[in-house]
Symmetry: none
Subunit: 223 residues, 4 copies
């Protein structure tokens, strides 16, 4: 029996023979000097939307919290365990990151369960239903619109929940104070697994648009 799943070991082998060897000095510096990421990403656990992959990140670049559906609960200092809030506090107060990106993605299983709890395989669970209740009101409102297709509802709630998480982020005093001083910027992003497109939220309107569309058009022109 191996101590780790075979695919994990094979992947690690590629890492150590490839990236680690190429970036040994970076890893050593990061170990010696500590991490100093400029950006925190709040992302989903989904296996298809890893922020390091999509954002082509170098070691030390992104401080990443990942939970189901990339949700940020509102500031609730009630003495209970709040893993995401703890990570936020760590990033903002200890690491002093300058950016927080809430990164959602298409076809999110958590959002799907929120929209259709009855047909979710998780309905009898103890935790996922409670967790997704963070967007319960929004899910109910989107679900009620029978003019939207299932897929349109899904995308709508994915984007609405990013806006909600950004609003919840601002309920944390440390976030709103640093943002007011211009020392912290909040961002929303949505990744389309199928097309590979990255959509960024306009902070004024809340709309999502593709910031690199010029690159795409240039590529077509170069054809």
């Amino acid at each position: 029996m191996t101590l780790l799943p075979e695919h994990i070991l094979n992947g690690y082998r590629h890492f150590i023979e490839g990236r680690y060897l190429a970036e040994t000095q970076t890893y050593r510096s990061l170990a010696r000097d500590g991490q100093a990421p400029e950006t925190m990403v709040i992302a989903c656990c989904d296996s298809r939307a890893a922020p390091e992959t999509v954002f082509g990140a170098a070691p030390g670049e992104l401080f990443v919290v990942r939970n189901v559906a990339n949700l940020v609960p509102p500031y609730t200092p009630d003495g209970e365990f709040h893993g995401t809030s703890a990570a936020l506090e760590f990033a903002v107060q200890a690491l002093r990151v300058r950016h927080v990106v809430v990164m959602g993605h298409g076809r999110c299983g958590g959002i799907k369960a929120a929209l259709d709890p009855a047909s979710s395989p998780l309905s009898p669970g103890d935790f996922i239903g409670k967790w997704m209740s963070l967007v319960e009101t929004e899910a109910r409102q989107v679900s009620a619109n029978e003019l939207l297709t299932t897929s349109e509802k899904q995308t709508a709630l994915e984007r609405i929940s990013i806006r909600l998480s950004l609003a919840n982020l601002r309920t944390f005093p440390c976030v709103s104070q640093l943002e007011a001083k211009g020392k912290l910027t909040l961002h929303g992003a949505w990744f389309d697994i199928s097309t590979g497109e990255l959509w960024a939220m306009d902070p004024t309107t809340g709309d999502f648009q593709r910031p690199l569309i010029d690159v795409e058009i240039a590529a077509i022109q170069a054809k």
Copy 2:
């Protein structure tokens, strides 16, 4: 003003022109058919220890929850929000992963804060102290042993907390039942940021060892 930090956009540009184009069909299949990862990883938010990077993961390969110090709280169905437990439930019950890997790493800031709360910049925080109290008993005991150096205490608690998280994982009925049936395997791993070494936990003894040590040495020699 750009909608996303410049380094995020540049990284995404590399992704879309490189990896996404090379693996377009994989992304499309994953979008169409849904994710079916074999393995869940519980890892730390640390910017230097991304599981996808260290485990050289393909899209769709790893379902990843990340919180400060890769902790799993014990099973507590109290109706409160439990982000990590929700992710675990999702992975085990909906996605039916076959492996759960708790992945710790060296120089973990959360573990450091647990060992020396007084000097942590986070002491006045609302959340991180509570979160790290999950290993409070263990931290106190390690700290009290004055025979260990500061660095040894750090590594010791990092590994102790991996064993603790594995024990907590087994308090979840869905985990212990599937493990008993041989349908789910739990693993511990610890990544050394400086040397790039991956240490795997022996499930019988709890010891950490390097499963690929020969490969590592050969690779470094070839450098």
Copy 3:
């Protein structure tokens, strides 16, 4: 004084010296033999979304009706004037087109007026309000969802109204009968003025997707 606006005459000059001369034989044949378009397009009057331009159409290729917001009223044989229904009848029964495409587009002024009649400069008008009341129920339902941004509501209603027009098309006996026999196919399309993207409706789900995304990706690959 000129008989026609200067820009019209200049444009015609380009046509006659360019396209007409290049395609004189086509025009002569079409004049002699009559038109036999394979496809009818129901499009908006908007100056930025001409179907001949977007679909790169040759003379004789598209039979086009254009009204505000590319709406099709339901089949109502009440002896009143129904310009769009008359055009549909002409295309389907006399010209025997094989395809009908309802082509919507982004930033549609009619849809905007339907979503926000109060702020429309057309509110005191006699006709536009009545015309847009064809999607009044849908507009009210979309408007009520305060979780959507103004722009998201706009896109949602644009696509919902395409689906509604397709449903209304099927209330015409000549349409539904020919469709049942496989002699007529209905399509939905949505053109994004800003990005130039064409989105096509999946007839099963009603979702809009980009049929030429492979071309776009190939272009990026070719970069």
Copy 4:
């Protein structure tokens, strides 16, 4: 199965790789700033007489309503649906166009049906007969003149109906008021599919003449 007819997709491909790429900035400006066409065209659905093609129009240049035989019904504020009147209202009151061009063309199928309803394949239809009854009186009078050939009758009614539509346009208060103030100009045009000639109506006499005849002859000579 493709979502859109093959010829539509091929045409779109030419558009996106050709015109859209050449005029990307224009499309973006038009999307961002909204349309501001100077001219509205009321044209026929005929596949051989697209105004954008014949008038070599740029995106954003022409606001176009198209119905069978380019007819304008008289002002009838009866609370019924009037698609053409709604489009006119939109163009004149919201977009404040400065010109309205009624553009007829030769070999118009609608006019032919009006002249000879008995032999029309549309006689049993619910809508086309009613729609063409807008020129019923005129059609009957032209038909009765046995001195004219069939072709002469056709051209005569095509031009008469343009003059009638212009007269009907002036029954709309918003049109006649703006025309009286010199803020709106009405024009008639007739396109000969076979020769490619554009004939413009003299507003004083109602006669049709070719404003660019010198250009046409030179161009054809140069061929």
